[in-house]
C-alpha cells in the first residue's frame, strides 16, 4: 500500500486554502487598497490636487469668469462671456451652467482629505519628516484655497469634512474653516521645495504651495473675515528682512487634463484682451507699468497681456504682498504704514499716494489691486470684500447686492440634495 504515502501530498493541497493565499498583490495596477506605499505615490496624489484645482480654475476660463471677465475688464473670446458680463448667470448656456457648478472645487477638497487620510496611515518608513510635512501642508493649503475660492464665488457653501459632511456653512464659517487649514499648512510648509535631488528648486516652488503663498492666502482669508489686525500681525511676523530671499510666487502649471478639455494658454492673446478704452481708463497715460504688461494691437484698438511664462498661470504672487500689507495695515488703523506699503507696491504709478486718507484709501487700494493683479481673477472678490460691487458692476443696485447678486447662482446639480438653497436674488432671476 505504498500509495498511502500520497495522502500527505493530498493533504497539502487542502492546506493551500488559507486567507494569505487568497491575497493578490497586483504589480502594475492602480487600485485603491494599499496603493500609497512610496513617497512618489504621495507626491502624485498631491499633484492630483493641483491638477483638480487647475481644472476648477481653468476649465471654461473660470478664474476669469469669476473675476475680470465678469466685470468686463477683460474680454474672453468665448460665446458665453457676453452672458457673464451682462450678469445673466442663470443662462441656459452649458458653459455658464458649468460655471455655476462647484463640483470641480469639491474634487480638490476630496483629493486633499484623501491625501491627509493616507498620510496619517503611512508609517515613517514610507514618509519622512520633510515629505510628510510637505504633502500634509500642501493638502491643507489646497483645501483652504478651494473653500476660500468657493466662499468668494457662492457666499455660503457646504462642508465636505467628514465630521459635518454636507452641513451648510455661512460665508464666515466657510472662510474661518479655510483659514484654520491655511494656518496649519503655514506651520508645515517650507519656504522652498526640494526637488528629486533634494536641492531647493525655485521652479518647483513656483507651482506648489510654499510658506510664502500659504501665508498670503491666510492673510487674505483673515482680511475677508475682517480680522485685519491678525492679518497684519501675521504678515509682519512672517515676512521679515530675513525672509526676503525666500519668497516665491505660486501659480498653476499648465498641462493636459485627461477628463476635461482645458485651455492650455488661459491668458493667450488670441482669447483674452482688453479694449484700448479700458486700458486707458485703468492705466492712465504716464503709468510706466503698462508697457511691460500689455501689447497694443496694430490697429490700436485692443491690448493683450504679456505673459512672461505661458506654462504657469500665476495665482498668488509676490507682488501682491505689499498690497496685502497695505490693506492689513490700513484696516487695522495704521494708515501711514499702509500708505508706505501701497507706494512700495505701486512703483510706476503716476498717482501720489502719500496724501491718501482713511476715506480715500479704499479706492486707491482697489485701483492698484485692479492694475497689478489683472489676470489673476480677483477683481470681483476685491469688490465684495471692500463693499464696492454696485459701484463697479452697474447692473446691480445695493439692494441686489444685499440679496446676494454679487455671488454666483448655484447649478441644479449643486443644489440637488444639498442643505443650501439659491439666494433670493438669483431665485428671482429664474
Amino acid at each position: 500500500m505504498k500509495f498511502w504515502k500520497l495522502i500527505p501530498v493530498v493533504l497539502l493541497f487542502f492546506l493551500f486554502a488559507c486567507k494569505k493565499n487568497l491575497t493578490i498583490n497586483l504589480d502594475n495596477r492602480t487600485v485603491a487598497e494599499g496603493y500609497y506605499d512610496s513617497p512618489q505615490k504621495f507626491e502624485q496624489a498631491a499633484v492630483g490636487g493641483y491638477v483638480d484645482l487647475r481644472r476648477a480654475l481653468v476649465a471654461n476660463y473660470a478664474f476669469l469668469m469669476y473675476g475680470e471677465a465678469r466685470t468686463g475688464d477683460l474680454a474672453v473670446a468665448t460665446d458665453y462671456q457676453p452672458a457673464v458680463v451682462s450678469q445673466k448667470l442663470t443662462s441656459d448656456n452649458r458653459y455658464v451652467k458649468q460655471l455655476t457648478d462647484w463640483e470641480y472645487f469639491y474634487d480638490v477638497i476630496h483629493d486633499a482629505n484623501d491625501l491627509l487620510d493616507n498620510i496619517n496611515k503611512a508609517d515613517n518608513s514610507i514618509l519622512n519628516g520633510y515629505k510628510r510635512n510637505l504633502y500634509k501642508g500642501e493638502a491643507l493649503a489646497l483645501k483652504s484655497y478651494a473653500y476660500f475660492y468657493m466662499a468668494r464665488i457662492w457666499g455660503d457653501i457646504a462642508s465636505a469634512e467628514t465630521n459635518n459632511f454636507g452641513k451648510h456653512l455661512t460665508n464666515q464659517e466657510a472662510v474661518t474653516l479655510a483659514s484654520g487649514f491655511a494656518s496649519e499648512a503655514k506651520r508645515l510648509l517650507p519656504w522652498r521645495l526640494l526637488n528629486d535631488s533634494e536641492i531647493e528648486s525655485a521652479a518647483l516652488t513656483n507651482i506648489r504651495f510654499s510658506k510664502t503663498s500659504v501665508t498670503s492666502l491666510l492673510a487674505h482669508e483673515e482680511l475677508w473675515l475682517g480680522k485685519a489686525q491678525d492679518a497684519y500681525t501675521l504678515l509682519t511676523n512672517t515676512f521679515t528682512t530675513a525672509t526676503t530671499d525666500s519668497l516665491s510666487d505660486f501659480g498653476i502649471s499648465m498641462g493636459v487634463d485627461r477628463r476635461t478639455d482645458i485651455p492650455q494658454k488661459p491668458l493667450d492673446a488670441g482669447v483674452v484682451s482688453m479694449t484700448i478704452d479700458s486700458l486707458n481708463a485703468i492705466y492712465p497715460a504716464g503709468d510706466s507699468r503698462r508697457a511691460g504688461m500689455f501689447n497694443i494691437s496694430s490697429d490700436g484698438k485692443t491690448a493683450t497681456m504679456i505673459v512672461a511664462d505661458a506654462t504657469i498661470l500665476p495665482l498668488i504672487t509676490k507682488r501682491e504682498l505689499n498690497l496685502l500689507f497695505a490693506e492689513a495695515a490700513w484696516r487695522s488703523g495704521n494708515l501711514n504704514a499702509a500708505k508706505t506699503y501701497l507706494i512700495r507696491a505701486a512703483t510706476g504709478a503716476k498717482e501720489d499716494y502719500s496724501t491718501l486718507t482713511d476715506a480715500t484709501f479704499a479706492n486707491a487700494l482697489l485701483k492698484e489691486r485692479r492694475r497689478m493683479l489683472v489676470g489673476t481673477g480677483q477683481r470681483v472678490f476685491d469688490l465684495i470684500r471692500l463693499g464696492k460691487v454696485s459701484t463697479y458692476i452697474p447692473a446691480f443696485t445695493d439692494a441686489d447686492v444685499q440679496k446676494g447678486a454679487a455671488y454666483w447662482p448655484l447649478s441644479a446639480n449643486s443644489l440637488k440634495g444639498s442643505s443650501l438653497s439659491q439666494n433670493s436674488y438669483w431665485l428671482s432671476k429664474k
Partner: protein
C-alpha cells in the same frame, strides 16, 4: 447494419435533453460547439446573432443579467470536467468554442439542476456545459477521416424590402455576397487495450463566410490518452492545441452603417486577428479499494488573442488609424477529490465525495493605438505609419488576476434504488472578497415512483444557492491618473472611488422541480421541469452629490426573478431493420421579472430600468412617448426550443433540427427620424408616418437627440438550422483497406427561416434594438451547403 443500430441507439440517449451525444445529432457547418446544441436542449437558448465566421452565438441556460449587453449569462463551460476560457476575448472576438471539431466530441452534458450546480459554486450561476471528448475505442488501431466542402449563400437578400441599410443596397452588394467556401478536414487515430487508450488527431477548418474579402480558419491538434499504470492507478492526458485566425474588412464589418452607396478601396486595409489556444489537463486517479478512490486533475487553459489593424486615409477622410492589441488569458485549475462509497445495509448506500479546487485566472492586455492625419504630399494609401509621437499614440496595458480556493462535499444517498437524496455543500474563497468566504449549499430529492405506484414516472425537487462574482473593480476601488503637471513631468493621481468594503457576490437561489415519464421505455420519454431562480444583491453604482469629490460609490441591492417551464419529448416511433424514425422535441417558456429595484433609481447606474415597476420584465424595451418613458416590448422570447427528426431507410438516413422562438420584440430605429430636441421644440413625432416612440441620447455638449423608431416588430421565427442526408456504404473494400464504414453526406445550415421580421436575421439584435448604426447588431447570417465524405477504418 450494426453501425446503423449503433448510431440509432445513440440517438435514444438524448433522453431528457440533458445529454447530447454528438454523433447522433446533425452537425453544423458553422464552427462552434454551441451550434451543435442549438435546438437540441430544452432551456438552452443559442442565439445566432451574427453571420461573421468565428463569432460565438449567445448562450443562455436559465441565465439572467441586469445588463442586456454583457456576457454574464454565459454558462460555465468544461472540457472533460475541467474549466476552460470560453468567452471570446475583446480583442479578436474569436469563439473559443470553435477550437474543437465535432468529430472529437463524444457527448455534451448540460447541467441545469441546482443539486449538481451548487458543487461548482460561484462559477456556475448560469448552468454548466460539460464537453466530454472521445476516447480510444477497443482495438489496436482505428483511423477515421472526415472531409467536406461547400459554400455560403444568402437567400433573403431582397433589395426592395431591404430595411437593413436604409435601402442602400449598393454598398451592401459590394460587401456581402454568395460563394464563400466552407470546408473541413479531420483525421483521427485511436485504440484501446490493457495499457489504456489513446486518441489523437488533427483538424483543419476554413470558413470564408458571407462577407467578401474576409476569411477565417482554425487548425488544431489533439490528444486524449489514458494509461493504466497499475491496476488501480491510472493517468489521463488531454490536450487540444488550436490556432485560429480571422481577417476582417472595414466597410460592413468594422464600420457597419454603410452610409454611402459605394465602399472605398480596401486594398490597403489590414485587420488580422490571430488566436493561439491550448487546453491541457492531466488526471491521476487511484482506486485503493472498491469503495475508496482518490483523484486529482490539473488543468491549464490558455488563450492568446492578438489583432493588428490598419485603416488607410482614403477610408478615414484623410486620417490613418493603426492599432495593435494582445490579450493573453490563462486559467490554471487543480481539483483533488476523495470518493468513498459506503453500503450501510441492503437498502441504504452513500456515495460521498469531498474535494478541494484551486483556480487562478491571470489576464494581461497590451495595446497601442495611433491615429494621425495625412501629411501634405502623402499618398492616400500610405501603408507604413511613421512619425507617431507620444501625443498621437495611446498605449495601454492592464493585468487582472483572481484566485479562487474552494472546498466541496457531495453526499449522494440512495435508498432502495427508489430514492436519491443529494446534498451539496461548497465554499468559495475569492481573492476579490474582503470577507473571503461564501457558502453554497443545495439539497435535492429524486424519487422513482415505478416501484411504489407501478407507474414509470420519476419526480425530483431541489433547492440551493449559487452566486455571481461582481467585476473586480467593484472589490478593489480605483485610482485614476488625471493630468500632467510641472512641464508634463509629473502625473496627478487621485481616487476614482474607494474599495467597496461591503462587496459580495450576487446571491442566486434556485428551486427545481420535475417529472420524467418513460411511458413506454422503448418508445416515448417525456420530461417536464420547472425552475424558479431569485437573484438578490446586485452591485450597482449610486451617484453621489457633487460635493463628494467622487462620482459614485457602489451599493448592493435589487432583486430579479426568473422562472420557467421546460418540456421535452423523445419518441422512437419506428425502429426495424429497414426503417427508423425518431423525434426529439423541446420547448421552454421563461418569464423574468423585477422583484425589487433600488430606491431613487434615477441616481444610480440602473437608471435605464427606471421605467420598470416590480413585476415588469427586466428585459423590457423602454422608450419615450410624449416625454413619458414606457415599456414598448420585451427583447426576450416568450418561448423557444427545437425539434429534431431522424429518418432511416435502409442505407439512407436523413435528419434535421429546427429551432424556433416566439414573442421576442425588436424595436428598429428609423434612418430618417433623428432630430435635435431643441430644434423640434422638444416634441415628437414630427411626421405622421413616425411611430410615437423615440429614444433619447445626450451628447458631450449636453444636447439631446431624439431617435425615432421605424417599427416595433415581432421577431418570432422558426428556422431549419441543420439538415443532412447521409448515405452509408457500410463496410467496403474489406480486404484492401478494411473500411468499416464510408458515409457520403450532404448537409445544410440555416436553410430557411420563416419570420415576419424586416431585417436579415430575427436573432441579430443583442439588446432587442436595431440601432441606426447597427451597433450591437450582427452581420447577415448566411446559409451553407456542404458535400462530405466520412471514412472509418
Amino acid at each position: 447494419m450494426f453501425l446503423f443500430v449503433a448510431t440509432y441507439g445513440a440517438a435514444m440517449s438524448v433522453s431528457a435533453q440533458e445529454k447530447v451525444v454528438v454523433d447522433s445529432v446533425v452537425s453544423a457547418n458553422r464552427a462552434g460547439v454551441e451550434n451543435i446544441l442549438q435546438g437540441n436542449v430544452a432551456g438552452l437558448r443559442v442565439k445566432s446573432w451574427s453571420g461573421t465566421p468565428g463569432t460565438q452565438s449567445i448562450l443562455n441556460l436559465r441565465g439572467l443579467s441586469l445588463d442586456p449587453t454583457d456576457k454574464s449569462t454565459m454558462p460555465l463551460i468544461l472540457i472533460n470536467g475541467v474549466p476552460m476560457i470560453a468567452s471570446p476575448s475583446d480583442v479578436t472576438g474569436i469563439n473559443p468554442l470553435s477550437y474543437y471539431t465535432t468529430d472529437q466530441i463524444e457527448r455534451i452534458e448540460v447541467i441545469k439542476d441546482i443539486d449538481r450546480l451548487a458543487a461548482f459554486g460561484v462559477q456556475a450561476p448560469n448552468g454548466a456545459i460539460n464537453i466530454i471528448m472521445k476516447e480510444g475505442k477497443s482495438g489496436a488501431i482505428h483511423i477515421s477521416a472526415n472531409a467536406y466542402a461547400g459554400a455560403n449563400f444568402q437567400q433573403n437578400m431582397d433589395s426592395k424590402a431591404d430595411a437593413f441599410y436604409n435601402f442602400n443596397t449598393g454598398a451592401r452588394r459590394q460587401v456581402y455576397g454568395n460563394g464563400g467556401i466552407v470546408d473541413e478536414q479531420n483525421l483521427m487515430v485511436d485504440g484501446n487495450g490493457d495499457y489504456g487508450s489513446y486518441l489523437f488527431g488533427l483538424s483543419n477548418y476554413q470558413d470564408k463566410g458571407y462577407i467578401k474579402g474576409t476569411s477565417s480558419g482554425r487548425q488544431s491538434l489533439f490528444l486524449n490518452a489514458k494509461y493504466n499504470i497499475t491496476k488501480g492507478f491510472s493517468a489521463q492526458f488531454y490536450n487540444n492545441f488550436a490556432l485560429a485566425n480571422r481577417d476582417g474588412r472595414y466597410a460592413g464589418e468594422y464600420s457597419r452603417d454603410l452610409t454611402l452607396p459605394v465602399t472605398g478601396d480596401e486594398g490597403f486595409v489590414m485587420d488580422k486577428k490571430r488566436n493561439v489556444d491550448l487546453i491541457s489537463s492531466m488526471k491521476l486517479a487511484y482506486q485503493f479499494n472498491p469503495s475508496f478512490k482518490i483523484s486529482s486533475v490539473a488543468s491549464i487553459s490558455y488563450d492568446a488573442s492578438s489583432r493588428d489593424y490598419y485603416i488607410p486615409s482614403n477610408l478615414l477622410d484623410g486620417n490613418i488609424h493603426a492599432f495593435s492589441a494582445t490579450i493573453k488569458r490563462q486559467l490554471v485549475a487543480l481539483n483533488t477529490s476523495l470518493n468513498y462509497l459506503h453500503r450501510f445495509n441492503d437498502y441504504l448506500n452513500l456515495d460521498m465525495t469531498i474535494g478541494n479546487e484551486i483556480r487562478g485566472n491571470d489576464d494581461r492586455i497590451t495595446s497601442v493605438d495611433g491615429q494621425r492625419s495625412l501629411e501634405s504630399g502623402g499618398s492616400d494609401f500610405v501603408k507604413v505609419v511613421t512619425g507617431y509621437n507620444a501625443n498621437q499614440t495611446y498605449a495601454y496595458s492592464d493585468h487582472e488576476m483572481e484566485k479562487i480556493v474552494s472546498f466541496y462535499g457531495i453526499w449522494k444517498w440512495n435508498y432502495k434504488k427508489d430514492l436519491d437524496v443529494n446534498m451539496v455543500l461548497r465554499t468559495d474563497g475569492s481573492s476579490f472578497y474582503q470577507n473571503k468566504w461564501a457558502l453554497y449549499p443545495a439539497l435535492g430529492v429524486h424519487y422513482d415512483l415505478n416501484n411504489a405506484l407501478n407507474f414509470p414516472v420519476k419526480a425530483n425537487i431541489a433547492y440551493g444557492k449559487t452566486g455571481i462574482l461582481s467585476k473586480p473593480e467593484v472589490y478593489r476601488g480605483q485610482i485614476g491618473a488625471y493630468g500632467d503637471y510641472y512641464g508634463n513631468t509629473q502625473l496627478g493621481v487621485g481616487l476614482l472611488y474607494p474599495a467597496f468594503q461591503d462587496a459580495k457576490s450576487v446571491s442566486v437561489y434556485q428551486l427545481d422541480a420535475g417529472l420524467t415519464f418513460n411511458i413506454l421505455p422503448s418508445l416515448l420519454d417525456i420530461s417536464v421541469n420547472y425552475f424558479n431562480k431569485i437573484y438578490k444583491n446586485f452591485t450597482y453604482q449610486r451617484y453621489l452629490s457633487n460635493i463628494s469629490g467622487m462620482d459614485y460609490q457602489y451599493e448592493t441591492g435589487g432583486s430579479l426573478g426568473l422562472a420557467g417551464v421546460e418540456f421535452s419529448l423523445d419518441g422512437r416511433w419506428f425502429n426495424n431493420r429497414d426503417f427508423g424514425w425518431s423525434t426529439s422535441f423541446n420547448i421552454a417558456s421563461y418569464k423574468n421579472k423585477v422583484r425589487s429595484l433600488p430606491s431613487d433609481i434615477q441616481s444610480t447606474s440602473l437608471a435605464y430600468l427606471g421605467a420598470l415597476s416590480n413585476g415588469d420584465a427586466v428585459t423590457s424595451i423602454t422608450a419615450y412617448q410624449g416625454g413619458q418613458s414606457k415599456i414598448i416590448g420585451n427583447s426576450e422570447a416568450k418561448a423557444f426550443g427545437g425539434i429534431s427528426n431522424t429518418f432511416r431507410y435502409k442505407k439512407l438516413s436523413a435528419s434535421f433540427t429546427a429551432s424556433y422562438a416566439w414573442g421576442a420584440d425588436v424595436a428598429t430605429e428609423s434612418f430618417t427620424s433623428t432630430y435635435y430636441a431643441d430644434l423640434v421644440g422638444n416634441s415628437f413625432p414630427i411626421k405622421n408616418a413616425e411611430t410615437p416612440y423615440y429614444f433619447t441620447t445626450t451628447d458631450a455638449t449636453g444636447r439631446v437627440t431624439y431617435q425615432g423608431m421605424r417599427t416595433i416588430e415581432n421577431a418570432s421565427f422558426i428556422r431549419l438550422n441543420k439538415a443532412a442526408i447521409t448515405y452509408h456504404f457500410g463496410p467496403i473494400l474489406k480486404r484492401l483497406a478494411s473500411i468499416n464504414d464510408l458515409q457520403l453526406f450532404l448537409r445544410g445550415d440555416n436553410l430557411f427561416t420563416l419570420t415576419n421580421y424586416s431585417g436579415v436575421n430575427p436573432e441579430e439584435n443583442i439588446t432587442g434594438i436595431r440601432k441606426r448604426d447597427l451597433s450591437l447588431t450582427g452581420t447577415p447570417l448566411p446559409s451553407s451547403l456542404v458535400l462530405g465524405l466520412k471514412l472509418v477504418l
